[in-house]
Symmetry: C2
């Protein structure tokens, strides 16, 4: 039974994110998923390596933008070129997933494959546990026709994530209890988040979804009928991609589909997961250094600590400074207190205003 | 008269300084004199260009170390190779000047040339005035046989320089009043420095000296007889440089000769002079930028100012930081509050301790 599902299990990696949030470490042509946090494989390489023991690379599809297709192909030499789906324009995650699922259905030639939608730029420490959970979700999706989401057991009152409010257990697959999702909750305030963590009835929504191609197609037909119709046209006329894709509705899979779907299940898991969504979250996974956390060639700290320094190949000497983010990429250098990291947005704005787009 | 002196006027540029004080901008193989403060010619190039309208390059000699000979020759393509005097070992300024003056006397073939000793890494804004003062000093040196020093009229109570206490005027040359130097004063404390500036009887000792070859030879014979004897041996056997030079006494021209000489004259001048002796002094001559002072390709300052940033060819973005020295040299990056700049010494020590000599 499990073997049958696994043989029809595809991965759809969403790698279309634009890369200025961690500027200048991340860039338009080197978005977050193409970064190496610890000096080893990049996040997208880790993402692929993490699933190939379960899903062979021939059944892994990656959706991305034209701008990032080159860098991604370079980083994923084993990915068959036809498995890189290049959006003519960005339309958020719902169209990307709709298109990807439709492509997977076409390639499955009449069978009803299971699709595991995975972010390209997250970190998962417990990889074997992750694959076991994914397989359990695939079994559940295949047998129940539900949309299934991986729910992360929260270990802190994080206000930066959406939450899943969970309901009754509907059964177990491979020893994983599967529970109803009562509703999707937007990012809560601190007090609400604390209540969620204490109550034990909420999980983090990590953006990982598992469903059959038929189930997601039905969901699009019901909740995003215009996009569904356009995807149907695209399925029959794939050569019309550049004409049809821009007509898809700009919406996220969470808002456009998952929050509206009547029957969503989740497997509560502890995967050592991080979305690496902020400088502080990234810093936790950068190697320790006298400077604080650092990816450098050599470090000299004279009364300096708690800094995050990204300057591969360089000797970095810091004297008497604390809590600074320092990012050196050869052509650009950012220096910013970690606690003001959100102001990097202002740097991006200023660069756009001053015509420094080459550095974006 | 003036013509005759000018025809026998030589320049002796002292360029042996080691380059770690402004690390990592300056390096052993790229000492301060090889830096460009404003993005134009380097300090040594400016030094040469400043005197060649008065003294042709054939009569300019440069004393330096083996380590810096290559970089200097590269920066001074017009300097005849035989005019680069390479010390086998460093022995401070007195031996360097004694050797240089001896070489100049040899090349002057029996005449008594005038030698202008000049630092290689200072800044002079009023260049024509500088050359006029140098020529006046040369006339005075030629006619009086005195050791002459260029005295800078102080405009602030600087505690980082030595001072000249001045006495009576002994005459005027080319309209420049020339005064006796009563004594050389070591770096004063702040109160004393303030008194000097208010009193009008003190000038800064800028390390620029003018004397005839005979006068300086006499001074060595009298005040550094051991070194004088060794220089005489070297004059007759220049091929024994590597053997003789290490035997010269390690001492500065100020301490070994000038402070002991009974008859020293000075021309008080205002040359827009700076010894660029500290990060703060350097910063004044780096171009203004939203970041503070900066040599960068492009600058983005978000609530950041009063910084000194050296990162040629780079976009530098700084958020919410003030008073930082940031120096990026491709292989090394230093971040240090300007007011803690003296702690760069600790960085150098740490690098030596940790075997990071390649970065010195």
């Amino acid at each position: 039974m499990s073997r049958a599902v696994q043989d029809d299990l595809f991965a759809l990696i969403i790698a279309g994110g634009r890369g200025t949030r961690f500027w200048p470490w991340s860039r338009r042509a080197r978005p977050k998923q193409c970064l190496s946090v610890d000096g080893g494989p990049t996040l997208i390489q880790q993402t692929l390596a993490r699933i190939t023991p379960l899903i062979p690379v021939e059944r892994v599809l990656v959706v991305t933008s034209a701008e990032m297709a080159g860098p991604l192909a370079e980083q994923l030499p084993d990915l068959p070129p036809e498995n890189l789906l290049v959006e003519p324009v960005g339309r958020n995650t719902a169209p990307a997933i709709g298109w990807g699922a439709s492509e997977i259905a076409r390639r499955a030639k009449g069978r009803n494959p299971v699709v595991a939608v995975l972010p390209s730029d997250h970190l998962i420490t417990h990889e074997a546990r992750f694959r076991a959970a994914l397989l359990a979700c695939a079994e559940a999706a295949s047998q129940t026709n539900a949309l299934v989401t991986v729910g992360i057991e929260p270990d802190r009152p994080e206000t930066g994530f959406g939450y899943l409010e969970i309901g009754a257990e509907v059964g177990q697959w491979h020893g994983h209890p599967m529970r109803r999702v009562r509703r999707f909750v937007e990012k809560p305030d601190a007090e609400t988040a604390a209540r969620y963590v204490a109550g034990g009835q909420h999980l983090w929504n990590a953006g990982m979804f598992v469903f059959t191609a038929e189930a997601i197609r039905d969901a699009f037909r019901q909740h995003l009928p215009h996009t569904w119709a356009a995807l149907e046209r695209l399925r029959h006329s794939p050569e019309r991609l550049n004409e049809i894709y821009p007509t898809l509705e700009r919406t996220s899979i969470d808002y456009g589909i998952m929050e509206r779907a009547p029957y969503v299940l989740t497997a509560p898991v502890d995967l050592g997961w991080s979305d690496l969504g902020s400088w502080a979250a990234l810093a936790e996974h950068v190697p320790a250094s006298p400077l604080g956390r650092a990816r450098v060639d050599a470090a000299i700290a004279i009364g300096a600590n708690d800094n995050l320094v990204i300057a591969p190949g360089k000797l970095v000497a810091m004297v008497g400074v604390h809590g600074l983010a320092v990012v050196d990429t050869g052509d650009a250098l950012l220096i910013c207190p970690l606690e003001q990291a959100q102001r990097v947005r202002e740097v991006i704005d200023a660069m756009e205003r001053e015509g420094l787009e080459d550095y974006l």
